[in-house]
Subunit: 269 residues, 2 copies
Amino acid sequence: MATRSARHGSPAAVRAAARGGGILTSTAPLAPGYAQANLVVLPRTLAYDFLVFAQRNPRPCPVLEALDCGDPVPRGLAPDADVRTDLPAYRVYRRGKLEGEVSDILSLWREDAVAFLIGCSFTFEAALSDVGVPLRHVELGCSVPMYKTSLELRAAGPFHGRMVVSMRPIPVGLVSRAARVSARYPAMHGAPIHVGAPEEIGIENLARPDYGDPVPVRPDELPVFWACGVTPQAVAVTSRPEWMICHSPGKMFVTDIPHRQFDVLGGAE
Amino acid sequence: MATRSARHGSPAAVRAAARGGGILTSTAPLAPGYAQANLVVLPRTLAYDFLVFAQRNPRPCPVLEALDCGDPVPRGLAPDADVRTDLPAYRVYRRGKLEGEVSDILSLWREDAVAFLIGCSFTFEAALSDVGVPLRHVELGCSVPMYKTSLELRAAGPFHGRMVVSMRPIPVGLVSRAARVSARYPAMHGAPIHVGAPEEIGIENLARPDYGDPVPVRPDELPVFWACGVTPQAVAVTSRPEWMICHSPGKMFVTDIPHRQFDVLGGAE
């Protein structure tokens, strides 16, 4: 089965499995050790404003690669890949409305399409796991819970909205370590943006995430919140761009770049 | 004298002095504790490709703020400033040729002008100084030496060229510390891109920098190289954009943001 062979496979093997329709669940456990990315595709007329929006909001929208106009090949992150086919599922938005999910975007691709790949939390999660910080959603085999917040983003052109965050329950004795370790990956959302007190960032009910699955927070834990790469999808709804395609949450683009290269203290120059 | 009062003044006082023509030397010692920035101004038709170029080459071109088209106010870094007047001197390039230096760009400003502010080494220099790493060019009261290298940048649209680096001689026993401390500031060029062996990155003669002043490297020191925000000016020459304005090297834009906010381990969320 494609999914099973992809589990310990190379990034290229995982992308091939996704291309063949063989990955039906989250890409989180696949190609361990390699960074994954969120996808945003927009028409060229909106690409500049989106890139400025991302630059102004680097915590939720850290751009790992801006592809050339009309070019589906991410030459920096995976030069033999194609973002039109190599993710398990795509979400198509028109004027802010989610039209549906598709398994490739070959027929939707346009000469004026511009693709952006955006940092993903799986990289700092691997680092947290390496230093003994448990990840509840991984233990439970579900997706991380994600929430819309009251944190206003800085607008650019038509793009505006509020930050989406992911939440991980962290034992109180490990919160400091979690903050310090994730901070080393600013291109992958970096340090937590908030610890505890969900109401202070506009989250009313932790049991009802806006995306992903709910996970319990135990009495000896604090909910810790990180900026989330699903933010552009919430922004797509509020900003109503003519046309926008994103990955399906949790079903990411797998890059050829090892996690460690994004560690500012130990990675690539 | 404007320069003297600016030396220990606030960022706003330094910008006012620059506006009044009162700053004739480097801004490096002015408004200590606050980040400074490189300036690039381009017509809107070139702004997207430049922003993609910067995204593809974040070491030399870390964008701190992309201003709105036609807007001279850096609303994120200094909301009461004006990039047309608040730097001591500007360099005007046309089709890759340096036309000259001017003290403001009010008469050159256009409705379709887009300004970018780019990270500056003064922030990591303050951090190096704080942990006891000596800075030769500061001791000598001159500008840091900067060199064109053989390191090819990743192109975007018409923008292409090679990296410019700054060089600081570091005592061998402090090279590790200098690398670790500067790495905490990826928005300010981050860790060194090269240590020792200048010929390996295409630098033939350390005594002849392409920008700034030469400084001696002593026998117990290694030359340590960081990506430099003057890179866009070298790129302006090779890429020949219709029109481009930059700061005069060493005469930077002073922001309202303290250095420490750019420390990924201890700064802003």
